[in-house]
């Protein structure tokens, strides 16, 4: 058991190393990874300005810009990455190694987190500076807790999706694309999720980002009307449940899909 744990920890570090080294050797990512989401945030902030919206809405957009960085990292650099790995010929080497598939995904996540954290911080700082957003944090402790739980749940969801991508052929690209705007819409990246109506917001809260964003907004724009979905404590509780559920489901789904792929022969079939 101990050996298995150590092997998996080594695997996480091994896979994360590629991302960390990649970030150092190809610094151009910083420009693309920061500038692009920043521009998107600027656009949405300016739309609100154009519409004469209250200032906290511009703040929503800036905070969401930072959170989108994490979602995109999960979507493109973790979930869909399994598809790329298959095409490159790495997936079969990962799958025949004596480790959990979660370790490979964790490695990708940890390695990507380094870049994504820089990206998110820069977006937050630049966006705040350009638009003069002011925050009023009611509790740093709760804010940290909400953020960690949101990441736990969202990365769990990412791992769950990666099980699908493991078997995907060329449709992977479209599928990853499909998880962008619809998710931005459903999770209320650019507006309070309550605007979708009570039922819509409840359904949207199945995506942990919805709860995380809502709680973060309540905590950093305290005193301003943010039209929350639930109280922060309820949302934290739901995030705990989501973290456990998505990680458990990911473990099961990865095993199931791997088995399915081994039965059909699609697991190592490239260029489908």
């Amino acid at each position: 058991m101990r050996t298995y744990l150590i092997t998996n920890l080594r695997a996480i570090w091994g896979r994360a190393y590629v991302r960390v080294v990649g970030a150092n050797r190809e610094p151009s990512w910083l420009f693309f990874e920061v500038a692009l989401p920043l521009l998107a945030s600027f656009s949405f902030a300016l739309i609100y300005r154009g519409m004469g919206a209250p200032e906290q809405y511009v703040g929503f957009v800036v905070v969401s810009g930072a959170m989108i960085a994490f979602w995109q990292n999960i979507l493109w650099s973790m979930a869909a990455q399994f598809y790329w790995e298959k095409e490159m010929g790495n997936l079969e080497l990962y799958l025949m190694a004596p480790i959990s598939r979660m370790s490979i995904l964790m490695g990708m996540a940890v390695g990507g987190l380094f870049m994504t954290a820089i990206r998110a911080t820069l977006i937050l700082l630049i966006g705040t500076w350009v638009f003069g957003v002011t925050y009023q944090v009611s509790s740093w402790l709760l804010l940290t807790g909400v953020f960690v739980l949101t990441m736990g749940a969202v990365y769990g969801l990412g791992m769950l999706s990666s099980s699908l991508f493991m078997l995907f052929g060329r449709e992977a690209w479209h599928t990853a694309n499909l998880f962008q705007e619809p998710v931005y819409f459903a999770t209320g990246f650019y507006f309070p999720v309550r605007a979708l109506g009570d039922l819509g917001a409840m359904l949207a809260s199945a995506i942990p980002l919805t709860l995380g964003l809502d709680a973060i907004r309540q905590l950093i724009f305290s005193g301003k009307p943010v039209n929350p979905l639930f109280t922060v404590r309820t949302e934290m509780l739901l995030l705990v449940v989501a973290t456990i559920f998505f990680n458990w489901a990911a473990l099961r789904a990865l095993r199931f899909m791997e088995n399915l792929g081994k039965q059909s022969g699609r697991l190592t079939l490239k260029g489908q």
Binding site: I6, R15, Y17, V21, G22, N90, P98, I99, N259
Partner: protein
């Protein structure tokens, strides 16, 4: 005896995706399942360098994929170190590694050393040990100058040397080498073969399963060889025994001017067991490799050629080779010929 590798009536079929299969059935054009392996029975002893020899599409890679837990059998059993690959793949994975020919694994941004280290981490090899082993192998395979080069800058040969080290650095109990010298030049292919042979002689308790369609590679490297074609194992023995099955004085090479006919006029002769034909367009000649049922049949073969208008330019009696054994069993040769990339 505990076999290193054992397959029992191993069968693997591939079918269309369910939706496409239903559609084809509905429109009356059902496609039958493709049989990749059919009742394959192979046993490999610990310490053996065992070869699977067959043409492209014979089922060699399918066997490797099943043994390395990447594919499930449709029927039958596959055991690695006595463990069923379908029932306990995790235990199998701790014992094996695999290297394929022409693989592009890894990430272009990492150096050779980093790539080898990264893959070693997936097997839990401590960094110090991995680096020490990797350095020794890098030196042995003359890769030192490229060791700190990004893998995106490597030539095909250098890349394959790195892949070989990637497979060996985890010190696997059983190693699968799937056409490891595919596409390599003579010199590098020789280095790779020498490395594999030395490794197995230094680690007599380890096992290597090598697939190849290079006759000479199988002949020179393997303790035993299974000849496989169209998913079936046709024979399994030492190269020497496989060759011995052919009577002496029964293998001839006949050189004729470029012959555009099919081999059927010869193939159908009762004295002929099998024929392979190789055109040498640049020389305007055709080489026929003929295996006879019995000594003395060669006269009727040259007669038949003469009647077909093919003048015999030269005729040589050959010592039976593994290719002849293959030809004898399969009924056709391997298109890429023998002695490929300097195997002898």
């Amino acid at each position: 005896m505990q076999w290193s590798i054992e397959t029992r009536n191993l069968r693997r079929t591939f079918r269309d995706r369910p939706v496409r299969r239903l559609f084809r059935r509905a429109v009356g054009t059902p496609v039958p399942d493709k049989v990749a392996l059919d009742s394959v029975n192979v046993t490999v002893r610990p310490g053996e360098l065992f070869g699977l020899l067959g043409p492209n599409g014979a089922g060699k890679t399918t066997i490797i994929k099943i043994l390395s837990t990447l594919l499930l059998p449709s029927a039958g059993e596959a055991l690695v170190d006595g463990i069923d690959v379908a029932k306990d793949p995790d235990s199998v994975r701790r014992r094996v590694n695999m290297v394929s020919g022409g693989e592009h694994s890894g990430y272009g941004i990492l150096t050779v050393r980093e790539t080898i280290w990264m893959f070693s981490q997936f097997y839990g090899v401590p960094t110090k040990v991995a680096k020490k082993r990797a350095d020794a192998m890098i030196e042995r395979l003359n890769l030192t100058e490229s060791a700190d080069t990004k893998t995106s800058k490597l030539s095909t040969g250098m890349r394959q040397k790195m892949n070989i080290i990637r497979g060996f650095v985890t010190d696997p109990k059983i190693l699968f080498l799937d056409e490891p010298t595919l596409g390599l030049d003579v010199g590098i292919a020789r280095e790779v073969r020498a490395f594999v042979s030395e490794w197995i002689s230094e680690h007599p308790e380890r096992t290597v399963l090598l697939t190849t369609h290079y006759m000479a590679e199988a002949d020179s490297m393997c303790d035993r060889v299974a000849i496989i074609d169209q998913g079936r194992v046709l024979a399994c023995d030492t190269p020497a025994n496989l060759k011995r099955d052919l009577a002496p004085d029964c293998v001839y090479q006949i050189e004729v001017p470029l012959w555009t006919e099919t081999i059927s006029p010869l193939d159908q002769m009762p004295v002929v067991r099998s024929v392979a034909m190789e055109h040498r367009g640049d020389q305007g000649r055709t080489h026929l490799r003929v295996i006879l049922e019995e000594e003395g049949g060669i006269a009727s073969v040259t007669d038949r050629l003469a009647k077909r208008g093919a003048r015999v330019l030269s005729m040589t009696r050959l010592e039976p080779s593994l290719e002849d054994a293959f030809l004898n069993l399969v009924g056709h040769g391997l298109s890429s010929g023998n002695g490929e990339n300097g195997a002898r």
